[in-house]
Point group: C2
Chain length 199, copies 2
């Protein structure tokens, strides 16, 4: 037994969504058909508009349908700070911290085994952006993974001697966790990076 062809096509298409397997896709397809066809049509329209209309900000390379995204076009932000991240979701995460400087969004991280060198992830554009600006500090906020570290090191080396501070986000124990659940590497970083209390 199987679903009718149109339903089967919809189930297959839903499986391209991250985290959606066969069972979830079935439930999604049938629930839309049974309970919310107008919502399904709205989603269809939103997908088509976004897939065709969203490009990249010319300045920070985050996803945006405007030539300049709303972060780059905001004149109240701090032009002395540039935060370099691996992707658009990271911009969102850093914004939540209250950071109000500028951003540059790489296309992921260096990954020589996959053939992804500096050009593939946008490092030449990053260097151009930095030349064109007047940044006092470049914050390297790539992911705390082996690849993210290597990418941060590569960028730091490319910028050495250009007169701006190069900083890396701190590694340490996450807030609210229990020490015994923290992995050894993280704990070692947290110890090495210990700071004086009471000022």
């Amino acid at each position: 037994m199987s679903f009718s062809p149109l339903i089967r096509q919809l189930i297959d298409a839903l499986r391209i969504l991250p985290g959606v397997g066969q069972k979830t896709a079935q439930r999604m397809a049938l629930q839309l058909l049974e309970r919310d066809r107008s919502g399904g049509l709205r989603l269809s329209q939103a997908l088509a508009t976004a897939m065709q209309g969203v490009g990249y900000c010319q300045q920070c390379r985050t996803l945006s349908e405007e030539a300049l995204c709303n972060l780059c076009s905001d004149t109240r932000r701090d032009d002395n700070l540039l935060c370099v991240v691996e992707g658009p979701l990271d911009v969102y995460a850093v914004e939540q911290t209250g950071y109000r400087g500028r951003y540059f969004v790489l296309k992921g991280h260096l990954s020589p085994l996959d053939g992804l060198g500096p050009e593939a992830i946008g490092i030449p554009e990053l260097l151009q952006r930095i030349e064109a600006g007047q940044f006092a500090e470049i914050i390297l906020a790539t992911n705390p993974t082996v690849e993210g570290e290597a990418t941060a090191h590569y960028i730091a080396q490319s910028l050495q001697g250009k007169g701006m501070a190069l900083t890396r986000i701190a590694h340490g124990v996450p807030l609210g966790g229990e020490l015994e659940l923290v992995d050894g590497g993280t704990l070692a970083h947290a110890l090495a990076g210990r700071r004086p209390m009471l000022g």
Copy 2:
């Protein structure tokens, strides 16, 4: 900070999918935009086609774009058996068991508090379907919930004395579980419905 308008619209639209909250919708939207725009366009197309093209089988009332679904039009199935379920996903579940009779798909279950009486869930059409057929047995496979039980009872009473067997799927302990994790009501049903072993 926020995403650009088109991305925001896409995130909002994705949240109509069952089980998809704000964070999941963000990840879905950005992943499609960053990595699979052609997949996103295929999903857009599949949604539009299905929402507009899928109707209901005239005979069993399951979702189908044909007047007769592939289960109803299959002449090799057993015309003596009719299995009554609450929705199209249940048809799929029952098919997995090897059942090869006919189906009738209600629109959910009786729910007087929500104003859903026999007409709202398609019981008149079920009775017509039964009149038009020559069923020896009607298997009531509504959900093992209070509402599903009430719906099965209502249908059984409506069909009493019409000469066909009326059966209800068995309640009991699910296969592969541990007895201590089974709730008391289920275990009581399993005890009451105990059957002789060794033939």
